[in-house]
Amino acid sequence: MPLRDLSKEELYLPGSAACAGCGDGIALRIALKALGKDTIFTVPACCTSVIESSYPNTSFGIPVMNIAFAASAACASGIRAGLRRQGKETQVVVWAGDGATYDIGVASLSGAWERETDFLYICYNNQMYSNTGIQRSGATPFGAWTTTTWKGKEESEKDMIAIAMAHHLPYIATATIGYPEDLHRKVQKAKSIPGPKYIEILSPCPPGWRYDMSKTVEMSKLSIATGVWALLEVEEGNITFNGRSKAILEGKIKPKPVEDWLSGQGRFAHLFKPKRDEERIKKFEEIIDQKWQRHREGKL
């Protein structure tokens, strides 16, 4: 859908408490344009719970239920049931960070998926606990500095899409804020499908990733161009790639060097300074290469 056809209505209002250049802000605006007014959010502890701004004001033009860190998907099951009793077909959406999704809330998310709650779970993934001051999460990539991985994380992130797939959801997608039409389309599609849906939006974070705040969208697009992140959809268990990621998969374009992505972020600075850490840069590249190798075999 061309940008001019996207709704003019702003359901995430200007003047919020978000950091300047916040990727989550972009994700919220685009997703809410696809979701529309008849939507209820439930939000666990995460950046979004701060972005809402302070009582008695809120930056959200739709109902938002804040809930404890581990509990958003369970809360969504309750909201859905309550609405169903009243014959309401309002979209129920969890909007959660990667900490709530990959780590503390993964059990309640798995539960809501298994009981086939009709809701859309959106994880805006900034690859760390940004809200609490940049700690390592299950989504933090190998090598990244955080305040709990001072010398760089030693492990890779877990594969949340594979976890979602293991629940046989009718719709799973990844997106990133640098491709607004794609993100909008995927949210719209999810909205049209009953049952549990999962969308993960890579959402760069200037203070966490340590790049200039004007580069949030550039960093998002670079994540796709380097193949660090892939745009994909999973329907009925079939994985399809789209946009630039499809072209990379089919060998129509060569991905940019992963190093471009790493070197643009202060959180990977220790891989380049004071001395180039060949071994870890190579390992990072291998992780990405192996991922694309699997993708070419039709796997995640």
Binding site: P14, A17, P56, P180
Partner: protein, 85 residues
């Protein structure tokens, strides 16, 4: 409902404040260069770029936090960032 009963908040523009005061650099739009592609509008993290009926855009400096994403993403470089005085 009693005034203070539980944490119930109502939607309002500028819920935190007029966030324009956060800015160090201000976006300046050259309307002649603008092709009305709307990328700045959709990519503004704060919804501080208004979209007019004719698809021209205007920057709402009351709320613009000065991140510079619009200037960075404008395909025709119609927006540039200048230091606030």
């Amino acid at each position: 409902m009693r005034e203070i009963f539980t944490t119930i908040s109502r939607p309002v523009k500028g819920a935190t404040e007029k966030t324009g005061q956060w800015r160090t650099f201000k976006p300046l739009l050259d309307k002649k260069k603008c092709t009305r592609c709307l990328r700045c509008w959709i990519l503004c993290p704060d919804g501080a770029i208004q979209r007019n009926e004719d698809e021209s855009v205007e920057i709402n400096l009351e709320y613009c936090k000065g991140c510079g994403i619009c200037a960075n993403e404008c395909p025709v470089k119609a927006i540039r960032m200048v230091r606030e005085e």
